[in-house]
Amino acid sequence: MRGRDAAAAIAVWAAFNVVLSSLMFLFTGDLMSHAVYWLGVFWLVPLIALAVTARERATRRLPQASGGAALLALALALVALGAGVGLWAVLCGAAVGVVAVVLLVMERSA
């Protein structure tokens, strides 16, 4: 199933947002209000482009399990934990992250 009709749906939603964010110009010139909304709306452009080009591959391999994915999440959480408990957690996170990436590469190429 190709993604063009999905892209059209996203485009309709984006169009609604463009109308609403443009309407705001009639009420305020506040830069922050416009910047926040328009940045959100602009992000939809690559999303629509992705949807237009999306299609299902004829064959694909499904992973039953992924230790690499779980470890990657742990690594990111450890890096975030570093904000509260210090550099050691960031370093642990980085180390776990390296292991996670290696595992993910091995899983993908297995």
């Binding site: 199933m1 190709r2 993604g3 009709d5 999905a6 059209a8 749906a9 996203i10 309709v12 939603w13 609604f16 947002n17 609403l20 964010s21 309407l23 705001m24 009639l26 009420f27 305020t28 506040d30 922050m32 209000s33 926040v36 909304y37 959100g40 709306v41 992000w43 939809l44 999303l47 949807a51 999306a54 299609r55 299902e56 004829a58 064959t59 694909r60 391999r61 499904l62 992973p63 039953q64 399990a65 992924s66 230790g67 690499g68 994915a69 779980a70 990657l72 999440a73 742990l74 990111l76 959480a77 975030a80 934990l81 570093g82 904000a83 509260g84 408990v85 993910l104 899983e107 297995a110």
Partner: protein, 552 residues
């Protein structure tokens, strides 16, 4: 191994069988690393429900504290931590991930896909959410206590000077992890809808629930990065980088936060609208009334909900109140369309008042109170009066607990047989519903009066002379009734599991593709050819129920 569509538009997608090193992993390791979207969704929902219980215990402590004047349980600083962690837990760690968990389980099944797109990314999403929750809750272990700047972490209340200590830092890290996880879950669902639909499943044949997940995922992908930016800035600011300088900085933080903070309300609402509409359609024996109107109104509703964040900032005087009041009031139009769809589906239907149906009806009725008071708070002059009062607390609890959580339970009772293979008990389900209805209304209706009388939110104490004691006592009683109702639900799960009654693939006479496979579904969702997809309710087509277009 594979999935084959059937019917005139059928095609085949072959899936290469997993090789030996990636054969099913069982036990604890399987629970940690399995990528099956159904397992990930079940884990997400179970984890979110665990946080619901934890956040609920905090709510009981808060209500105990407020039952009578004076300090009963905790200090003022302790109370700040309690309401901050209660709100954070319920929004970041319960309702939002639970809403996404429903989609993670159901979207691939409803669109006829064998698996979710990006199963590894999906798994990362779950674990980031789970670790994020643990990080946020670990802030209770910090020397200076947990986060205490509300779920909004309003700046400068949340800066290093006003909220010192690592508790706040851990909370920020946890919120960022959990939110990133939710973004990943949403991305996988949207990718599945875009690229993994079964042959014949055009966008205008998507089930209503899946449509609500489309708009939910769009909102997550568009609005949630704003929270990451706001929290990242806050983390940097707390460590010496002047990200939000002066009064303008505080306003900038609010813009970034509320650009996430209002859409998230609808992220916690739309999936339950979709679930409740499907439940009502199934138990009415009819198709969802005005399907195309519902789809259009969902798109408009979701867009409008991106344009209303400023109504949370009316009293700052720094936003265009007329614009945000206009867009907030306009929300009533698409919301009304959803209600028209629900009522239109019910009219003329052969109603079966099962527990799921009753929860769905209660969802629409209870949410109405939250929705209508939203029009009230969307008006700046009225909002100035009730801002930061218990009126607002009552309003958003009617949307989130008395609204969305009813929708969640409707979904749980409806899809439980599909997920587990056995039904929940009807009698205990009805008791759960009755207690939940009584509890929520006894808890939150008095808060409208308290707020209108001027009781501010986020206070640990009040004077006897304020005259708020009776209503606070009533609200506290109601909170404990809610706790009993949740206990009844857990008892129902236990009893139903202990003496399980096999449900079969389609116990309710469902309308969408998930009911065309076994309960619980196999690893690749469908083992038999899919029925032809010629409408949003392919199983009704199989039973010969004409589509509205086919009627004379």
């Amino acid at each position: 191994m594979g999935r084959a569509g059937a019917g005139p538009e059928a095609g085949t997608v072959s899936l290469v069988a997993p090789r030996p090193p990636y054969a099913p992993v069982r036990g604890v390791a399987g629970a940690v690393v399995a990528t099956d979207h159904k397992a990930v969704a079940a884990r997400t929902l179970a984890t979110a429900f665990g946080f619901f219980i934890a956040g609920g215990v905090i709510a009981l402590l808060m209500r105990w504290e407020l039952a009578t004047p004076g300090m009963q349980l905790t200090s003022r600083a302790g109370y700040d931590e309690l309401f901050s962690m209660h709100g954070s837990t319920m929004i970041y760690l319960f309702v939002t991930p639970a809403a996404l968990a429903l989609g993670t389980y159901l979207v691939p099944l409803q669109v006829g896909a064998a698996e979710i797109a990006g199963p590894r990314v999906n798994l990362v999403g779950y674990w980031l959410f789970a670790f994020g929750g643990l990080l946020a809750w670990s802030s209770f272990l910090a020397r200076d206590g947990a986060a205490s700047a509300a779920w909004t972490a309003e700046f400068p209340m949340s800066d290093a000077a006003n909220t010192p200590g690592s508790g706040m830092d851990l909370w920020i890290a946890g919120v960022m992890c959990a939110t990133t996880g939710v973004i990943l879950l949403a991305a996988c669902q949207l990718a599945t809808i875009v690229a993994r639909r079964a042959p014949g499943m055009t966008m205008l044949r998507l089930p209503v629930f899946t449509w609500t997940m489309v708009v939910t995922c769009l909102m997550v992908l568009t609005a949630f990065p704003s929270l990451l930016i706001a929290m990242g800035g806050l983390a940097l600011d707390r460590h010496g980088v002047d990200v939000y300088p002066g009064a303008g900085g505080a306003t900038a933080y609010q813009h970034l936060f509320w650009f996430y903070g209002h859409p998230v309300v609808y992220v916690m609402f739309f999936p339950f609208v979709g679930a409740s509409l499907e439940v009502i359609a199934t138990f009415s024996g009819r198709r969802v009334f005005g399907y195309r109107g519902v789809v259009l109104s969902l798109l408009a509703f979701a867009a409008l909900s991106m344009a209303v964040w400023g109504h949370h900032m009316f009293t700052t005087g720094q936003v265009a109140n007329r614009y945000f009041s206009l867009t907030s009031t306009m929300l009533a139009v698409p919301a009304g369309m959803e209600y028209v769809a629900a009522v239109g589906t019910l009219i003329g239907g052969a109603l079966r008042l099962r527990t799921a149906m009753l929860f769905a009806l209660a969802f629409f009725l209870q949410f109405l109170i939250g929705g209508l008071t939203g029009i009230y708070t969307g008006s700046p002059p009225l909002d100035y009066h009730v801002h930061d009062s218990y009126f607002v607390v009552a309003h958003f609890h009617y949307t989130l607990l008395a609204g969305s959580v009813f929708g969640l339970f409707a979904a749980v009772y409806y899809w439980w047989p599909k997920v587990t293979g056995f039904r929940l008990r009807e009698g205990l389900g009805r008791l759960h519903l009755a207690l939940f209805v009584i509890g929520t209304n006894v808890t939150f209706l008095p808060m409208f009066v308290l707020g209108y009388d001027g009781m501010p939110r986020r206070v640990a104490n009040y004077r006897p002379a304020d005259g708020w004691t009776t209503l606070n006592l009533v609200a506290t009683g109601g909170a404990f009734v809610i706790a009993v109702s949740v206990a009844v639900f857990l008892l129902n799960v236990y009893v139903s599991w202990l003496r399980s009654e096999p449900a079969g693939p389609d116990p309710w006479g469902g309308q969408t593709l998930e009911w065309a496979t076994a309960s619980p579904p196999p690893r690749l969702n469908f083992t038999a050819p899919l029925p032809p997809v010629r409408s949003a309710e392919p199983l009704l087509d199989l039973r010969g129920v004409p589509t509205p277009e086919a009627l004379p």
